[in-house]
Each structure stands twice: as C-alpha cells, then as structure tokens.
C-alpha cells in the first residue's frame, strides 16, 4: 500500500499519472491526498508542526546545502514521511542536495558500519565519533535498528549506546526502524544519507547483521567496515562460503581480550588471503579505557576513501538505489519488464552519471510501461 503511494507521488513529479486507476488499493484505502478524509484544516495544522513554516522541502534542502546542520532533523522527518504530500516535499528536498544542485558529488564520507548484535558496534562508534570530532569533522549517524515486532512498533536503543556530548551540535544521531521494509535498508535511509551528506563531513550508516545487510550498506556507502567480535566464527564462515562480500575493512573489537582477539584477527587475515584479497585491512580495536586502535581505524577509513573514484562510486550507488526502489515498488514482474536486474543496471550505467536516483526510477518506470503496457 505504502509503496504504491510512494511510487505514484514520485512519478507525479514529472508527468501526469497514466495508470492511477490500475493501482489496486489506492482508492480503496481512501487516505490519499485526493481522497483524504482528513479535513483540509487538519492537513494545514499538521504541515505547520511536522513540516515547520520555514521548512518546505526545497527550503530544508537549501539550508542543508548551505551547511545548516540544524535543518537536519526536520529534513529527516520529511524524508520519512510516506504521505503523498510528504513524498513530494522530500523529492523537492533531495533535488536541492543532488549533485546537480551541489555542483559536485556531496563531499561527505559515507561510512557503513555493520556487524552482528553484541559485536561492539556502538562502543566502537562512540570512540570513532570522538576521534572524528577531535579532527574537526562533523558526524551524522543513521542507526538502523532491526527490531521489528508484529505490532509494527520498534524499540530504538542504539542511540543510548553511542556516547557523545549532547551539547555538541556537530554530532547528530538518528535511529530508524527497519521494520517491515523488504530489502533491509529502507529507501528512506538512502535518501537520509544523501541529505545528510550535504551538511555533515561524515555520515555513518549503522546496521545489524552478517551476510545480508552489508550488501546494501555497501551499495550505499563509500567505505564499509564489518565489525566482528572475537570468538564468533560467523563472519569467517560467511566469508569463506562466499555468502558475504568482502568488506572494505574488517574490524575485530575487544582487543582487551588479548589472545582471543589476536587469534580472531589472524584467522580473518588468513581467510582473506585464501580468497586472494589480502590487501583488505583487518584492524584490532578496544573501546574500553584506554581505547586502542581507534586512530589507526580512522586513518584506514580515510585511506580507503582516498583510493576511490568517488563520482563512479556515487553514480553506481544511485543506479543500485534506483533499481532497489523500483523493485520494492513494483515487484519482480516490473524488473522483468525492464529486461532483468543486470540488463537494467547496464542500461542505467550508460546514462549521464550525474542523474539523480529519482530521475533513474522515473526512467525505469517509463521503460517498464512501454514494454509491459498497463499491466506492470
């Protein structure tokens, strides 16, 4: 339901709706902007609260582009808003922070931090955030919480575990629930990262899991660090079995455990070299006082970024985001209508690399409709 509405509003930015009536559920639901049973006045009141006066989508986008970090929370509220009006405003916001509007790719470093529960991601992030702040960089953390219950509600606990100075406006932490969003990382998370990248120096996307979630983090981020705790063999097994793609960095936490931590680091290095990727750094850190290895990790993250062809990485991220969004909205049938995932990726790759995600989605839409008529 939600995804259908989202799809429609995205397209409605560019062209009149061709197939409104063919979307099942839209009219039945009766809670769209057109068919709303909310009084107009109520809509207005909500806009004033949820989207503050100075905070239309475009305005918030401009403020972010100008580096105004205080616009970030309201911008994130908008990006998470799934209502038609919200989608429209979010698109306007994103247009303001697109490479076209910025004149270049966003300068922020997008860093993915992922690993199994209890691996020590939050303690590690506490130390990393402190290190980045010390070097004068501003940091935004998007903590994607996996907990989702049947009720649809979530307990978002990560914020508590990332220690930071609440008086420091150079740090923003935002938790989101991955609840019920197929494909793990929500489209909202990608959009949020893009928006934050306009105003912060480092944008961290923190996710939980091993084997699946880091694929998507990898699509979105410039640098991905997989966090492993000593004594848990999962990562090693997944690497060996090829279930997990090789990350940019492997971080073994709890170096204070001594022998166990050293053994884990050795095993991972051996596994990597057997896969022929011995250049992937494996770092050992301890977050308990006195912290160890944090400066080295921060440096390794920077070095990885230094080696990247950033425009290519970001263009690829947009292509994959567009495909993922398209597939989530319209399903596999639609993906087949555009010739399958690989072909679509190739086609998108031939376009102007500066095209933003929304434009790419819209293009896929058109292609699919042409191929499959009204049915897709």
């Amino acid at each position: 339901m939600t995804s259908l509405r989202r799809g429609r509003s995205l397209r409605s930015l560019r062209e009149p709706l061709v197939s409104e009536v063919t979307h099942p559920g839209l009219s039945a639901r009766g809670r769209t902007a057109e068919g709303s049973d909310e009084p107009q006045g109520a809509q207005g009141a909500r806009a004033a609260i949820d989207r503050p006066g100075e905070g239309t989508g475009a305005e918030l986008g401009r403020r972010l582009r100008e580096g105004e970090r205080s616009a970030a929370p309201a911008a994130l509220n908008l990006i998470e808003d799934r209502s038609p009006a919200g989608r429209e405003a979010a698109a306007a916001l994103l247009a303001e922070v697109s490479p076209a509007a910025l004149g270049d790719e966003a300068g922020a470093h997008l860093v993915g931090v992922t690993g199994p529960p209890g691996a020590g991601k939050s303690s590690l992030l506490s130390a990393l955030v402190a290190a980045w702040r010390e070097s004068g960089r501003t940091v935004a953390v998007l903590a994607v919480d996996p907990s989702s219950k049947r009720s649809g509600g979530s307990l978002l606990g990560d914020r508590a575990r990332i220690e930071h100075d609440p008086g420091d406006d150079g740090v923003l932490i935002r938790s989101t629930a991955a609840a019920g969003r197929l494909g793990g990382l929500a489209a909202a998370t990608r959009a949020a990262a893009q928006a934050l990248a306009a105003a912060f120096d480092v944008v961290v996307v923190e996710t939980v899991g091993v084997g699946q979630s880091e694929t998507e983090v990898e699509e979105l981020c410039d640098t991905v660090a997989v966090v492993v705790q000593p004594g848990s063999g999962d990562t090693l097994q997944f690497l060996k079995a090829g279930i997990m793609e090789v990350p940019d960095l492997l971080v073994v936490t709890k170096a204070d455990l001594g022998k166990v931590a050293r053994a884990a680091r050795r095993d991972l290095a051996a596994a990597l070299s057997s896969l022929g990727v011995s250049e992937t750094p494996v770092l050992s850190v301890s977050s308990v006082p006195p912290p160890e290895g944090i400066a080295e990790l921060a440096a390794a993250i920077d070095q990885h970024r230094g080696r990247l062809d950033l425009p290519a990485v970001r263009a690829r991220a947009r292509r994959l985001a567009a495909l993922s969004e398209f597939a989530t909205e319209h399903g596999e049938r639609a993906v087949r209508a555009v010739g399958g995932r690989r072909a679509a990726e190739r086609t998108l790759g031939e376009l102007d690399p500066a095209l933003e995600t929304a434009a790419l989605v819209s293009l896929l839409d058109r292609t699919a409709r042409e191929a499959d008529g009204e049915r897709y």
Partner: protein
C-alpha cells in the same frame, strides 16, 4: 525452665533490630531526625543517601541538579559524616547504609569518622548494602562497569572480615528485584546467584582459612509482599538454599556460618496512591510475613510509610511505621513461641516448590556464565514479569483494593493538611550543599588530597591491590565523594546497564491493545510516518521499572520508541527529542527532582524549537509520570507539561491511548481541537 512445653519458649525472644529508612537534606538535619527516632524506641539506624552520594557525584555536579538532599542525605566528605553521626554512640549503634556503587567510600567515611571519635573499628556494627548486580537490574545507582564493581565489593569484604569483623560488608539485596517485578522464584534465584558471584570473587582475595568467616558475614536484604504466607515460604526456601550453597559449593561446615541472616524492608511496590490509608494494613500484613515463623524471622526490619506512593514521608509517618513494629514485637505474643510452621504440610509444600523452581532458574543463570554475565538475561526476565503483573492488575485479575476494585471512597483526612500529607525538602538545601562543598574544597590541604587520590588511582590500576586502605586515606585527607568516584571512573570507565526492553517479548494483545494498535496505525498513516515517542529518565533516579513498562507497551502498541535508559541530563533529552524527530516526549521521575528537571527539559525543547520553529510552547507534547504530588502536578501543567500521570494511573494501555490522542490533536489529525484541550488541562483540569 526445664518443664517448658515444646510449644512454648522458655522466655520470649528478643525483638529484631527496628529501623526506619531515613535521611534527607543535610547531615545536620538528618542527625536530628536520627536522634528523635532513637528516642522513640528505634534500635538501629538506616541511612538513606541522596542520589548524588549514591552515584558518586558532588552536589555541584551537573547531574546532581534537583537531587541534592532529596531521596536521602547528602554526604560529600568526612565533615558531613561527622555531622550525621554527631552524638550517636558508634560503638553501641547498629548502622545500616543503603549504599552500593560507592559503598567502599561511605564505609571509609564511617571508619574515618569513628576513628576520629576514638571508637575502635572492631567495635563497629552495621551493614553496607554493597550489591551492585541488583543496581544493574533495577535500581540504577551504579557507577562503574560490572568487572571493577565486583572487585570493589570483593575488596570491602576482604578488608572488613579481619579489620571490622562485626560489619556486614554486603547485604545481597533481592528487595529491589521484587520491586522490579520478580516472582518469588526469581527473587530467590537471582539473589542466590548474586551471592555466588560475590563469594567466588572474594574467594580469590582471601586466604582459604578465612573463607568460612567470609561466608558467615554475608547477609541478605529481602522484600516481603502482601501474599504473606507465600512470602514467608520464600524466606524459608532462601534459608535452605543458602545452607546448601555453603555446604556444597564452599565446603562450609560451621553451623553458625550457615544460618541465613537477613533484614527486610517490606514492599513498596504494592502501596497505592489511591486510598493511601489502606497501605498501613498492607504494611502490617507484610511485616507478619517476615516475623511469623521463628525459623525464618528477620534480624532487622524497616517498614515503609503509608504515603510513599504520594511523596516523601514526614517524621510522623515514619513514627507510625515504627509503632507497627513495636506493637508487633511487644504487645502481641509473636515472640513467645517456637516456629509456628514446623510440620506444616502447606508450608513444606510451598518451600519445596520454591526451592525447586529457584534451583532450575539458578541453573539458567549459571548457563549464562553466572550473575554478572547474566545481567541482560535477568533484566529481560524481570521486565517481562513486571509487565505480566501490571497486565493482571489492568485486567482486574490481581485485585488491589481502592485501585482496581472498591474505588469509590470518602476523601482521606490524612491528606487534608497544608502539606498534603507529605514531606517537602527545602529547595535552599541544594544551593547550601553546593556552597558548602566548595568551601570544603577551598579550606582543606590540597596537597594531601592530591597525594591520596594518586594513591587511589595506583591501587585501582593494580588488580590485586585492595582499594580500601587507599580509600580510607582519601576519606581522612578530606577527598570528596565526587573526587573519589571520579578517580575510579578514570581508571575503570563508565557503564550503561542494559535496559531489558528490546528483548522483552511482546505483550499479549487483548481487546484494548488491539484497538489501540488500530488507532496508532490510523494516526501514523495520517502523520505520514509512524508515531515516534521518546521515553526519558532525567536526573540520577535509576528506578526505571515504570519507564521500561511504558517503553515496552508503546512498542507493543505499534509506536517507534526511543528509550535511552537512565541518568540523562535535560540537555541530552532535549537533543534526542529534536534529533530523533519524535512526536511526543514521556518523562519519568520518582526521586522528587521533577520541579527542577522537567521545566529545564521544557525550556531546552522550546529553545531547540522542536522541529525548528522557534520560541513558544515546545513543539512536541511532553507528558510526565512519577511520584508527583497534586500541587506539583498543577505547576508542571502550568509550565507547559501536557499530562501528568501518577501511580494511580495504573492502566498503561489507557495512558498510551491518551498519548496517541495527544499526538493526533497536536498534529491536527484528530477531531479534538488541540489548543482547547491543552488550555483546559493547563487550567487545572483533573490530573489524568
């Protein structure tokens, strides 16, 4: 004497030690209170410390704001301890201190004070609670991570067993576990598992021949609820398991070391705000549970006051509770007989049930690696038990007279006085203590303080060194509570205990919860994103049970819940509310610091402009729950709080429904005219 029949004692037993958990404001004022209490026939002291003292902060620390002298007395250094104990004969007194994270420090202050008054250490009698695991699990006044905390406990035990031999260095405390929702089996199992973790730790730090004496110095502090037959059985079960543990795990053979020694504070959890006079009856029955059977009778008792769900008790309220003890011990024939349950088929059956259940649960804790490692497991179990208990009250299965049955009542004359029937701490106390600690720091020998702190740091770094001697040297040198804990925080690091909420199983959806879920979906749809709530605990108050239940129920109602745990500054709460883009903020305070902290949160939210739109009312509604007197509630509403919930609002699902409507109204997506609702509330509509 020789022909006393077996159903009578040759002479009545001596009464237990009678105490009242007391202390507030300054050391001088508390000293006066103690002397009055002793004159009324109290036979021991039970010192209540304020939260800064319990968590190792000086009165002028940012986190101490609003808390100084509130839940107990503020003790910042040896000078305060001298005032506190002034004129009290320490060699004849039995002093219990409810102190945990900073137990080693308060013990050192007590020892230094006794020393300067010419009293030998060996003559001192008393107890430091010193049980950190239950602080992680329920009460929240911890300061250091688990490892170093357990070491501090082991150090105090290893030190006192020879140096202060009549002292109980630890009181394994299941009291707060029951307050957090523990069933009798959980209470027994977690207390015994904690004892085991402590004893294992001390065993490495004392010579083998000393160990049986260590075992004999371990005492317990338990809770007693209203189901007093069952509660008595719980104590007998605890005694059996304790003896078994001593014999089987530690090879203790001396009978006198194997006897369970325990003190008790009866249940506060079951005390109601509605018809509070009924609480006196509850307290009497709960006291019976721990005194009825001679074989499992408490060594020391302290009873809460009838008005604890309303606010802090006054001296008169505490006197009433002391009189209960005196009547029970001196007027009734309770102390005239041998154990009245001996041979009781029912009692034996109950005890066997509890022993079996507790053994099974202890095995689960052991599988997790022992009590320290099992803290997250135990916490989740407690959150779930508490949730079940509350749900049973909400459904009316568990009857609480005056709260969910027989609710119509005459107004209570006990609450009619000018003070509303509770005690208020003078708000000038905090500034007075801040000035006093600054004067103290300026006037002492700074070099001696530095030397003492350096030695403490050195001792802390060296795992095998006992920190007690260096701690006592700090006490003598005039080091402050915040400095002592600060030096150890540098060495040990800080810690945030698990909240237990994320892993708590979902609440079984009854009809009202299902209806609420539908409404949450509806409002979320209209908002464009899921209702997001921040549940926050400002200040040092660690009683997080209520906040946790709210957080879990909000999640189960379908909301996104940001819960950061305890000990948050108003600044951090406001920052989280803004950055997380929540629709509503719920704050919980039980320590009485709401008058200072809540307006501060409101001010910061206003400054931050909620979602960025400047001055005026906070952009998100703020609701408050806790032990909040009626007149304070009116002030909070006038200051911009949207709702105040107190213990009599026991139906959490209904509270949630209320909050959802607030969000809907504020966002203009319900039929309620937002401003009208808020205005009528601020004008003193009945509290919800």
């Amino acid at each position: 004497m020789t022909d006393t029949p077996s159903h009578r004692l040759p002479e009545p037993d001596r009464p237990w030690v009678m105490r009242t958990y007391a202390g507030h404001s300054t050391a001088r004022e508390s000293n006066e209170l103690y002397r009055n209490n002793l004159a009324k026939g109290q036979t021991g002291l039970s010192i209540a410390f304020d939260l800064p003292t319990q968590t190792g902060y000086d009165p002028d620390h940012e986190l101490s704001r609003g808390e100084v002298g509130k839940t107990g007395v503020s003790i910042a250094h040896k000078g305060d301890m001298h005032f506190l104990l002034d004129g009290i004969p320490l060699d004849a007194m039995n002093t219990s201190m409810t102190i945990n994270a900073t137990a080693a420090w308060l013990l050192a202050l007590y020892l230094a004070t006794a020393e300067e008054n010419g009293v030998e250490r060996s003559a001192l009698q008393g107890t430091t609670q010193n049980d950190i695991i239950k602080e992680f699990l329920s009460r929240g006044t911890y300061a250091f991570p688990p490892g170093p905390s357990m070491r501090l406990i082991a150090d105090t035990i290893a030190f006192t067993v020879d140096e202060v031999p009549k002292w109980n260095p630890i009181n394994i405390c299941s009291y707060h576990l029951q307050e957090a929702g523990a069933t009798p089996v959980q209470e027994i199992a977690y207390a015994m598992s904690t004892a085991q973790a402590v004893l294992d730790g001390v065993r490495e730090r004392v010579p083998a021949e000393t160990f049986p004496r260590v075992f004999g110095r371990i005492s317990f502090f338990v809770n007693a609820g209203i189901r007093f037959i069952q509660e008595h059985a719980k104590l007998r079960a605890l005694g059996q398991l304790w003896e078994q543990l001593g014999r089987e795990r530690y090879g203790v053979t001396d009978e006198k070391y194997l006897r369970l020694r325990y003190g008790v504070q009866v249940n506060s959890l079951g005390l109601t705000e509605a018809q509070p006079e009924n609480n006196v009856i509850r307290i009497v029955l709960e006291a019976l549970g721990v005194t009825l059977g001679r074989d499992a009778r408490a060594r020391a008792i302290q009873l809460p006051a009838w008005n604890e769900a309303l606010g802090l008790p006054r001296p008169w309220d505490q006197q009433w509770s002391l009189r209960i003890q005196q009547i029970l011990a001196l007027e009734t024939d309770l102390l005239d007989y041998p154990d009245v349950f001996e041979g009781s088929h029912v009692m034996e059956g109950l005890v066997a049930e509890f022993v079996e259940g507790a053994r099974a649960e202890m095995a689960v804790v052991a599988e997790h690696g022992g009590a320290v490692e099992a803290v997250p497991y135990m916490k989740t179990q407690l959150v779930e038990s508490h949730r079940d208990r509350i749900a049973r009250i909400e459904r009316g299965e568990l009857k609480v007279v005056g709260q969910n049955v027989f609710t119509s009542a005459e107004p209570s004359p006990l609450q009619e006085g000018e003070d509303g029937g509770i005690m208020r701490v003078d708000e000038a106390v905090e500034q007075g203590q801040i000035d006093a600690v600054r004067r103290w720091r300026a006037e002492r020998d700074a070099a001696a303080v530095e030397t003492a702190l350096d030695e403490l740091r050195a001792a802390a770094r060296e795992e095998t060194t006992n920190v007690m001697p260096a701690t006592i040297a700090c006490a003598r040198a005039g080091v402050t509570t915040g400095e002592w804990a600060g030096a150890l925080r540098e060495s040990f690091g800080e810690y945030r205990a698990p909240t237990g909420v994320a892993d708590a199983a979902p609440t079984t959806a009854d009809e009202s919860l299902s209806a609420l879920r539908d409404r949450v979906e509806e409002v979320s749809e209209a908002l464009g994103r899921r209702i997001k709530i921040l549940v926050g605990k400002p200040g040092l108050d660690g009683h997080s049970n209520g906040a946790e239940q709210i957080a879990v129920r909000a999640r189960d109602a379908g909301m996104d819940v940001v819960y950061e745990g305890i000990r948050l500054t108003p600044q951090r709460i406001a920052q989280a509310a803004v950055q997380e883009g929540v629709h509503v903020v719920g704050l919980s305070i039980l320590s009485g610091s709401h008058r200072e902290l809540i307006p501060d949160v409101l001010r910061r939210l206003r400054e931050a402009g909620g979602n960025g739109n400047g001055a005026g009312a906070p952009t998100v509604p703020v609701v408050v729950g806790g032990i909040i007197p009626e007149s304070d509630a009116r002030e909070l509403l006038a200051a911009g709080v949207t709702r105040v919930y107190t213990p009599k609002d026991f139906e959490i699902t209904r509270i949630m429904g209320d909050i959802v409507e607030l969000v809907a109204a504020r966002a203009g997506v319900s039929d309620l005219p937002a401003s009208g609702t808020l205005a009528s509330l601020a004008q003193g509509a009945p509290r919800q």
